[in-house]
Structure formats: structure tokens, C-alpha cells
């Protein structure tokens, strides 16, 4: 299937999801759906660096928060339409991703992971001390009740949902395209044996920079509409550890080798968390994520996709 056809199918699925949400007639569906789609974007983005290249990024929350805070900055400075803010968020986080890549290029494995964690805390400290965007007190974002697109007036939360749906489609298409092109094969060589790849003339340095930039930009995109969704943004919520954990747990539970894993993981885990938040409590839903992450890493290292593949292979060989 070529990329164009795949994109069209994704768009059709997206439209179907939106119509289904509308038919249910409950506003909360869009509210919860937004969060799940946000995790689809985050986990796909994480997987480009973590799953394809094998570089664990613990600082997903930092890129997400950068997107969110660039929105807050422009909200205070001069409010812009959200699609523009998404592009800005992508650029800001992409640049920081590139910078982080440069700073940490010499580091492999664990050191890289620790460096990303360190970067998240440094950025959080900067934001806490930056009073223009609210500092540690946080910032309020006032949004309108409705928005009109092409003459139709729709609820604001629906508008945000549609934007996030579009972003989810973008990230899935990007992640699938990467896996099928030369770029993806280059990433895979880095994951399998970076030294050997470099010896064979694979430009690992440049490839890693591309990966950190794309991954960062996608996370920034996911963060940009967040202040409008949440209404009140403070550093502790934007830099929350749950974004870091979720964007690692979802691809690992789904399976990290293809674009399907993060999607499956995000939808399953995201829905489960929404259910747990509504029915039990928000602390319990984080516990579920943590336990699932540990369990899957130990028992099913290739995730759900890996399990299904094994089952299929076993049946075929019978």
C-alpha cells in the first residue's frame, strides 16, 4: 500500500471516528478522546527515536511542555489560531530536539536516557522561574465556547478533538513512512549495531539528529493545543512524569518495531486509563500503567504486536 492510499484510509477512519463520537451524543467522548489521541501522537513520536533507533527518551514531557508553553507565550503576547500554534510548537520542540541531539551525540544507551531526563528538569526549572508565562503559579487560558469552521459553528472541545485527530493521523503516517523508507532502515541499523553501521558508512550522526528532531517536533505538536484543552497550565502538570511514563509504556506494551504498536498501545492503555480515572481514581490509573509496563517488559518484550505475530507464525508452521 503506498503512502497516499494509506493516508486516505487514515482520513476515512478519522472521519468515521468523529461521526461515531457525534452519534453517541455525549460531550465527554470528545474530552476523553482528545487525551487518547494525544497519547497516540506522543507514543508514535517516542517510538521514532525509541523503537526505531533504540534510544530511550525519558524527557517526552519536556517536548510536550515546550509545545504547550510556546502556546502560553503567544497567548500572552498575541493570540494566534491554534493550527498556527501547532506549527510553532513543532518548530520550537524540533529545534530543541536537534539541540539535544547535538549535545548528547556522544552518549549511548543509558547515558542518553539520563541526559534526556536531566534536560526535562532543567527546562522545567527555567519555566518555573520565567514569570512571563506564569512561573510556578501557572497561567490561565480563556477559550471561547464555540468555534466556526467554514460557516459551521461547533463546540470548542470538538474543534480541539478534530485538531488532535489530524495530528494523530499525521504522526501515524509519518511514522509508517519512515519505517518503509531508507531512513527507517538507517534507524534500524543504529538500533541493531551502531558501531557496525558507522563502519559500513551509514551516517549515524545525521540519522540520529533527524530522529531526535522529528520525534521532538511531533511531541511539541501534541503539546501546543494542550493549554486550550486544560484551561489552566502549570509547570508541574505540563512536565508531569505521567507523560514520560505513558509515552514509553504505550509503545512497549503495543510493540516497538512498527508503527502499529504505539497506536495499539496508546488506544488500549489510553482508554483503560480514562476508564480507571472515571471509575476508580487517577492515582490508580497511573499504578496500572506502571505495573503493565513492568509486566510487559519482563513477560512480553515484543509487546502485543509481537505476541500476535508469534501466534500467527506458530499457526502457520502447524
Amino acid at each position: 500500500m503506498n503512502t497516499l492510499r494509506f493516508t486516505i484510509i487514515c482520513l476515512l477512519v478519522g472521519v468515521a471516528v468523529y461521526i461515531c463520537g457525534h452519534l453517541l451524543g455525549v460531550g465527554y467522548v470528545f474530552f476523553a478522546g482528545y487525551t487518547i489521541l494525544q497519547f497516540v501522537v506522543l507514543s508514535s513520536a517516542w517510538n521514532i527515536l525509541g523503537g526505531y533507533c533504540g534510544y530511550v527518551n525519558f524527557g517526552s514531557a519536556a517536548f510536550f511542555a515546550l509545545g504547550a508553553y510556546s502556546t502560553v507565550f503567544f497567548y500572552k503576547f498575541n493570540p494566534l489560531p491554534i493550527p498556527v500554534l501547532i506549527v510553532i510548537g513543532a518548530v520550537v520542540s524540533g529545534i530543541v530536539g536537534l539541540g539535544m541531539g547535538y549535545l548528547t551525540l556522544r552518549l549511548r544507551g543509558a547515558f542518553f536516557a539520563i541526559a534526556t531526563l536531566a534536560m526535562a528538569v532543567v527546562l522545567q526549572t527555567l519555566v518555573v522561574n520565567w514569570t512571563y508565562v506564569g512561573g510556578s503559579r501557572g497561567a490561565y487560558i480563556v477559550r471561547e465556547e464555540t468555534v466556526s469552521i467554514f460557516g459551521y459553528s461547533i463546540e470548542y472541545i470538538e474543534y480541539l478533538f478534530l485538531l488532535m485527530l489530524a495530528l494523530a493521523i499525521v504522526s501515524i503516517v509519518v511514522s509508517r513512512t519512515i519505517a518503509r523508507t531508507q531512513l527507517g532502515f538507517g534507524f534500524a541499523t543504529i538500533r541493531d549495531d551502531e558501531l557496525a553501521a558507522e563502519a559500513l558508512g551509514v551516517p549515524t550522526l545525521r540519522l540520529k539528529l533527524i530522529a531526535t528532531t522529528i520525534s521532538g517536533a511531533l511531541m511539541g505538536m501534541a503539546g501546543a493545543p494542550f493549554p486550550y484543552y486544560i484551561g489552566y497550565l502549570q509547570p508541574a502538570s505540563a512536565f508531569g512524569l505521567e507523560y514520560g511514563v505513558n509515552s514509553i509504556a504505550m509503545p512497549i506494551i503495543g510493540g516497538t518495531t512498527s508503527w502499529v504498536g504505539p497506536l495499539v498501545g496508546a488506544i488500549l492503555l489510553g482508554s483503560l486509563q480514562q476508564l480507571a480515572t472515571v471509575t476508580i481514581s487517577s492515582a490508580v490509573n497511573l499504578l496500572i500503567v506502571g505495573l503493565l509496563l513492568v509486566a510487559f517488559v519482563v513477560i512480553a518484550p515484543n509487546g502485543l504486536v509481537g505476541l500476535v505475530q508469534e501466534r500467527l507464525r506458530a499457526r502457520r508452521s502447524k
Partner: protein, 291 residues
Amino acid sequence: MDISFDLLMNAIVAGLLLGGFYAAVTAGVSISFGMLDIVNIAHPGFIILGSYIAYFINISFGIDPIVVSIVMLPVFYILGTIIYQVYYVSFEKRGQESLRGLAFFFGLLFVTEVMLILVFGVDYRYVEASYIGPSLHLGNVDFPLRMLVPCITALVLFGLLELFVTRTFTGRAIMAVSQDQLALQLMAADPIRIKRIAFGISIATTSIAGALLVIIQPVEPSVGREYIGRVFAICVLGGLGSLPGSLIAAMLLGVMESLTSTFYGPSWSPAVAFGFLLLTLAFRPAGLFGR
């Protein structure tokens, strides 16, 4: 800015005392990360666990937190050996320790934190002991006992560990396993057993470090996150696997943080450790005293 000499001296002394405590926090990571190559990101999680155990027993029975932590050492040691066994069977044996091992420990950190939140809530908890409150005065310089006692305990712990690693057979075997696992195997020693013991010791130190933490400051479950950066910053700065190196690095970081929070405000001090870590990783990954 007008920097008075007394303020500067007090800040430096406070930093040194803090650094001693940081050394205790880092000792375990120096063993697990520095010598065994196990990236135990969950280490601060266990420290907070130690803090809560010390807090709970202190509040219920009025026993001194440091005594509690020493009594709890075997429990933490066993916990450590169990975790190492799981880690070995699921990751090291399969040769997948890098990505999945990291995710495993990250998950563990998160699980401990959320469990503590569920049991104790997110309120700050503190212990009671006779040495919390008063301080010694030497000229114009204050030595608060709540910092001095943890610092001395930490130094004793550190000294004992250094003696253990350099003088005893098992300790030397741990050093050997960090240098060449295969060679150790050829000497008919079981590297997995040695590593299990070492990891057990590494987790056992968190019991004491946790008790010291809850003496120094009130604790809530997510405090551990701040320590991830500090611990690894010190460990990398001091050169991996070198206990004396990490002691010096801990003191250095303590003084820098103390100076930062005295002259620029406490909200900047987390950035010091992490910023330093980033710079070290970027420009001198072998650490200041690296091999």
C-alpha cells in the same frame, strides 16, 4: 550583590554537610551503575521507600530513624537480590538490558511512587528525633545538627563501603566483576552471585539514605525524582565506579547547590545538578576523576 563573608561561609558549610548526605544517596548507584553497569533509575524510589519506613516506625514507636534504617538493612538487601534476579533472568541473560532494562526500572520507580501515594497520600511527612532543631555554633558559622548527624552517618557508611570493596574478598570480587566478568568466571567464581550480592548491597544503602533524607527534609512520594538527576550527576562526575571520586563530586555538588540557593533562590537549585550533569555528559563523559 553584596556578599558578606559570614553568609558565604555558612553557605559553604551547609553545602559540605549536604554533600555528605548526597554521598550516601549516591553510594548505591556508584555500585549498581558504576560497577555492575545496571542503570537503576529506580534507586531514588527505594530511597523514598526507606524514608517512609523510617517515618512510619518513628511515628508509631518513637524509634530513632537511623536505628530503624540499620535494622531494615537485611530487608532491603533481600529486596535488592530479588530485583537483581528478575533483572538477570529477564534482561541480562537475553542480552536486552539496554532499552527494556531501562524501561523496567523506570516502571519500578513509577510503581513505588504511586504505591506510596496510595498508602500515605501526597502530604509532606517528617520524623521526630532529639537532634532535629538544635545546632552547634563555631564562631559565626552554624552547624545544624539535623544536617551534621546525617552527614556523619553518611561518611561512616561511605568509609565502611570503601573498606568492604577494597579489603574483603567479596568486595574485591565485586571490583573484579566490574572489570572483567569472563576472567572472574575463569577463576571459578560465579559472576552472577557476586553481582547479586553487590546489587543487594546497593539497594541496602537506600535504607540508610532514606532515613537520612527524612531527617534532613520533609518527604513526599515524588521527591525522589529530584534525586535521579543528583545521583547520576554525582556518579558520572566522580567517574563511574569510583567511590572516593563520587564522595568528592557529592561535596562539590552540595556546595554549588547551597551557594545557588543562598544567592539566587532555592527555585534554581534543581537546575544546578541537572545542568551540571548535562554539561559533564556532553563535554567530559568520563567524569572529573574518570579512569
